[in-house]
C-alpha cells in the first residue's frame, strides 16, 4: 500500500483499523530510523581529514585539489585566533592540519605536537616562494614545519564617505579618533590588536616584550577602549557593521575590504603611514594526525593555484605559490593592493616577530582586562 493510496483511503474513510495501524507503524519506523540515516550517509565524511583553520577560510574553494582527489571537502573546524587554536590543540584536540602564523611558529613547534612536512608529498612545493617558508624557527634540521599559504596585512578598513582624513595621511590614529567614538570596531584577538597598537605607539617589534613597551601599548589600548563599539573575532560582524554605517572604521584583514568593495560599499583598506601589520600564515600537520596522507593532500591543496585564485581574487590576500599570480594581470593585482613580490608588501609593513609564551600569556591577559574596561 503506497502512501498516496493510504491518504486517499483515509480521506474516503475507506480504511480498516489494521491497515491504518500498519501505515502508522511504517511511519513510526521511518521517523525512528531517520536520525540513523544521515549518520549512514555521513559516515564517509568522518574518513576525511580535519582542517582546523581561521573562521572564513573554512570553504571548499580553499582546498580545490583535495576535493578533486577525495570527492568532498575535508572536515573544517574554526578558531578566532591562533592562540586559542594552540590552547585547544595543547589540551588534546587532535586535528590533521592547522593554520598558524609566522609569529607563532617557534612556540607551535616547541610544543612537540607537530611533524615536519614531507615535501615530496607536496606536488606544489617547488612553486612555493622560498622567502615565505624560510622564516624564523620554521626550518629545523633542514625540514620545514609550516607550509606558507596566505600572507597579508592587518590594517584599517574605513568608510571613505564617513571618515574625514582632513587632508592628512592615513594613520592608525583613525582608530583612536575621538570624533568617531562608539563607531569604531576592533579585532578581539591580541595577536592582531596588540601588535597594531604597538605600531601606533612606535614600538620596535623586537622590543615589544619589554615592561616599558608593554605598559606603553597597554596605556594606548586603554585610551582607545571607550571609543570602541565592539571587539570581535567575527569579521562578518565587522563587515556588516561597516556596510550599514554602524561603524565608520574597523581593524580588519585585507579580505573584509575586498568583500565590502565587491558589495559596492565605499570603503578603503588603509595603508597607514606608521605601516600595516604584515604576516604569513600557513599549514602545519599534527604529529598524531589520524590521516597523514590526506593531511598532506590538504596542505598541497592549500598551495595549489586554485586556492591561490580564491585567496587573491576573492580576498585580496597574497598566496605562496608564484604561479597563482600568473592568473591575474598587474592591474588587477594593483587594484587589490597586492604585488607579485611579497617582500614589497611584507617589508613595507611591520612583520610580526615571534615571542615567548610568557609574553603571549601576559599580553592576552592584559588585553582581556583592557577589553573588560580595566
Amino acid at each position: 500500500m503506497d502512501s498516496h493510496d493510504l491518504i486517499a483511503r483515509i480521506k474516503n474513510r475507506d480504511i480498516n483499523r489494521r491497515d491504518l495501524l500498519r501505515g502508522m507503524g511504517a511511519a513510526g519506523l521511518a521517523v525512528a530510523m531517520s536520525p540513523a540515516m544521515p549518520r549512514l550517509a555521513g559516515a564517509a565524511a568522518a574518513d576525511q581529514a580535519t582542517f582546523f583553520t581561521w573562521g572564513g577560510y573554512d570553504v571548499p574553494e580553499f582546498v580545490p585539489t583535495y576535493i578533486a582527489k577525495h570527492g568532498e571537502p575535508p572536515n573544517f573546524a574554526t578558531f578566532g585566533g591562533s592562540e586559542e587554536a594552540l590552547t585547544k590543540i595543547r589540551a588534546g584536540y587532535v586535528v590533521d592540519v592547522s593554520h598558524p602564523c609566522n609569529q607563532g611558529i617557534p612556540r607551535w613547534v616547541a610544543t612537540g605536537l607537530f611533524q615536519p612536512l614531507d615535501t615530496n608529498q607536496l606536488s606544489n612545493w617547488p612553486d612555493v616562494m622560498p622567502a615565505l617558508w624560510n622564516l624564523e624557527g620554521n626550518v629545523i634540521d633542514g625540514k620545514p614545519y609550516m607550509a606558507p599559504v596566505d600572507w597579508g596585512r592587518t590594517s584599517i578598513t574605513y568608510r571613505t564617505d564617513l571618515v574625514d582624513l582632513q587632508g592628512k595621511d592615513e594613520s592608525w590614529g583613525i582608530l583612536w579618533d575621538e570624533r568617531y567614538k562608539g563607531r569604531l570596531g576592533m579585532l578581539a584577538s591580541g595577536g592582531d590588536a596588540w601588535w597594531c597598537a604597538a605600531i601606533y605607539a612606535g614600538v620596535d617589534f623586537h622590543q615589544i616584550a619589554t615592561d616599558e613597551n608593554v605598559k606603553k601599548v597597554a596605556a594606548l589600548m586603554r585610551k582607545q577602549r571607550p571609543l570602541i563599539r565592539t571587539y570581535t573575532d567575527d569579521t562578518t560582524s565587522l563587515e556588516q557593521a561597516l556596510a550599514s554605517g554602524e561603524l565608520v572604521a574597523a581593524m580588519t584583514w585585507d579580505a573584509s575590504a575586498v568583500t565590502l568593495k565587491g558589495q559596492g560599499v565605499p570603503v578603503k583598506f588603509a595603508n597607514p603611514k606608521e605601516g600595516a601589520l604584515t604576516w604569513v600564515c600557513g599549514a602545519m600537520i599534527h604529529k598524531d594526525a589520524p590521516h597523514p596522507g590526506k593531511a598532506h593532500d590538504i596542505v598541497d591543496a592549500l598551495l595549489s593555484t586554485g586556492a591561490g585564485k580564491w585567496l587573491i581574487g576573492e580576498n585580496g590576500y597574497g598566496h605562496s605559490n608564484t604561479k597563482s599570480f600568473d592568473l591575474f594581470s598587474d592591474d588587477e593585482l594593483a587594484a587589490l593592493g597586492l604585488s607579485r613580490n611579497p617582500a614589497e608588501i611584507l617589508d613595507a609593513g611591520k612583520f610580526q616577530v615571534p615571542q615567548t609564551q610568557e609574553f603571549e600569556t601576559a599580553m592576552n591577559k592584559e588585553f582581556e582586562n583592557i577589553k573588560a574596561g580595566f
Binding site: 590552547t87 591580541g190 554602524e246 573588560a372 580595566f374
Partner: protein
C-alpha cells in the same frame, strides 16, 4: 510425599532479593542508579577536577600541581573579577525579574482564560524554543541592530533621526535577549502553580466581596508564589554563567564573568585561574540562591 527440604543457608542471591524487597532505600537507590551514575560521571567527577585544578598554577604550557590559594587570592583581589561578577549578577537578576513579569500574564491567561486545547497553547508558547539558542541570539542581533527592525521601524515612523545605538552591544541587549531565550522556563512553572489553585477559593473571595484586583493580590498571587520563585531561580542560576549572549550582543560593556572564565581556558591559557573563577561564581550563585530561598520561605510563611 515428602516435605521439601528446608534450606539452612540462604543463597546470596535470595538474601539480596530479600534486602531489595524489605528496604525501601535500596529499592530507591536501585531505581535512581542510572541517574546517579550519570550524575557521578558527568557532574561530580568534572566538578572535582575543576576544584582540584583551581588550587594549581599555570606556567606557560606547564601546570604546577603544588597546592596554592593564589588563584583565589587573585580572584578576590582583582577588581575586574569582582566587577564582572557583580555585573553578571545584576544582569541575571534583572533578567529574572523581567522574564517573570513578562511570563506571568501569559501563564495567567492560559491557566484561567483558556478552557479548550490548553496543551496547544502551551506548545505554541514554547515554539520559539524549537530553534537553536544561537539562532535566537542572532535574530535578536538583527532586531536590535543599527539598521535592525526596531531602529528602522522607529525611523520610518519619524520618531528618531539617528538609530538608537544603545539597543545593541550593551547590557540592555543582553537582558532582552536572555529574557526571551529563557521565557519558557518561567512560563511553565508559573502556569503549573496557577493551574493548581483551587477555583473555589476565588469564588469564595468574590462571595466575600473582593473585587478582581484584590482577589488577585490576596488569593492568586500568594498561591502562585512557589511557581514565581521557582521560575526566577531557574532563570537566575543558569544566566549568570551565560557567555554566548554577551559575546554576541553585549559589546565591551556587556561582557560577563563567564566570558572571563572562557578566555582563561582559551587564549589567556590559565586554566587554574579559570577554574578558580568558576568555583567562585558557583559559590556566590549558590549563596545568593540559598538566601533567596530562605527569604521567600519566610515571606510565604507569613502570608500563610
Amino acid at each position: 510425599m515428602t516435605a521439601p527440604p528446608v534450606k539452612l543457608h540462604k543463597s546470596w542471591n535470595s538474601r539480596l532479593r530479600a534486602l531489595f524487597i524489605r528496604s525501601e532505600a535500596v529499592r530507591g537507590y536501585t531505581l535512581l542508579s542510572p541517574t546517579l551514575i550519570v550524575m557521578a560521571f558527568a557532574m561530580c567527577a568534572p566538578f572535582a577536577i575543576l576544584v582540584t585544578m583551581s588550587f594549581w598554577t599555570q606556567h606557560a604550557f606547564e601546570i604546577d600541581t603544588a597546592f596554592t590559594l593564589r588563584n583565589y587570592q587573585a580572584a578576590i583581589d582583582g577588581p575586574i573579577y569582582k566587577a564582572l561578577l557583580i555585573r553578571s549578577l545584576w544582569i541575571s537578576g534583572t533578567c529574572a525579574i523581567v522574564t517573570v513579569l513578562v511570563s506571568y500574564p501569559m501563564a495567567y491567561y492560559v491557566a484561567f482564560h483558556v478552557h479548550r486545547r490548553k496543551l496547544v497553547w502551551i506548545i505554541l508558547m514554547t515554539l520559539p524554543f524549537w530553534t537553536s539558542y544561537l539562532l535566537r541570539v542572532f535574530s535578536w542581533k538583527v532586531i536590535l541592530g543599527y539598521n535592525g527592525a526596531i531602529n528602522s521601524g522607529l525611523k520610518s515612523l519619524g520618531l528618531i533621526e539617528q538609530p538608537l545605538e544603545f539597543l545593541l552591544y550593551s547590557p540592555t541587549a543582553v537582558v532582552i535577549t536572555l529574557a526571551h531565550a529563557w521565557a519558557a522556563f518561567a512560563i511553565l512553572p508559573i502556569y503549573v502553580s496557577l493551574e493548581k489553585i483551587d477555583r473555589s477559593l476565588l469564588e469564595a473571595a468574590a462571595d466575600l466581596g473582593d473585587g478582581p484586583v484584590v482577589s488577585f493580590l490576596r488569593v492568586t498571587l500568594p498561591l502562585s508564589l512557589p511557581g514565581v520563585i521557582a521560575a526566577s531561580l531557574l532563570i537566575f542560576i543558569p544566566t549568570v554563567g551565560d557567555y554566548i549572549t554577551p559575546t554576541l550582543v553585549g559589546g565591551p560593556d556587556g561582557i560577563m564573568i563567564a566570558n572571563m572564565i572562557q578566555v582563561q581556558f582559551g587564549r589567556v591559557n590559565d586554566w587554574p585561574m579559570g577554574a578558580a573563577l568558576a568555583v567562585c561564581m558557583m559559590v556566590v550563585v549558590a549563596l545568593i540562591s540559598l538566601i533567596y530561598i530562605w527569604v521567600t520561605r519566610k515571606m510565604t510563611e507569613r502570608i500563610a
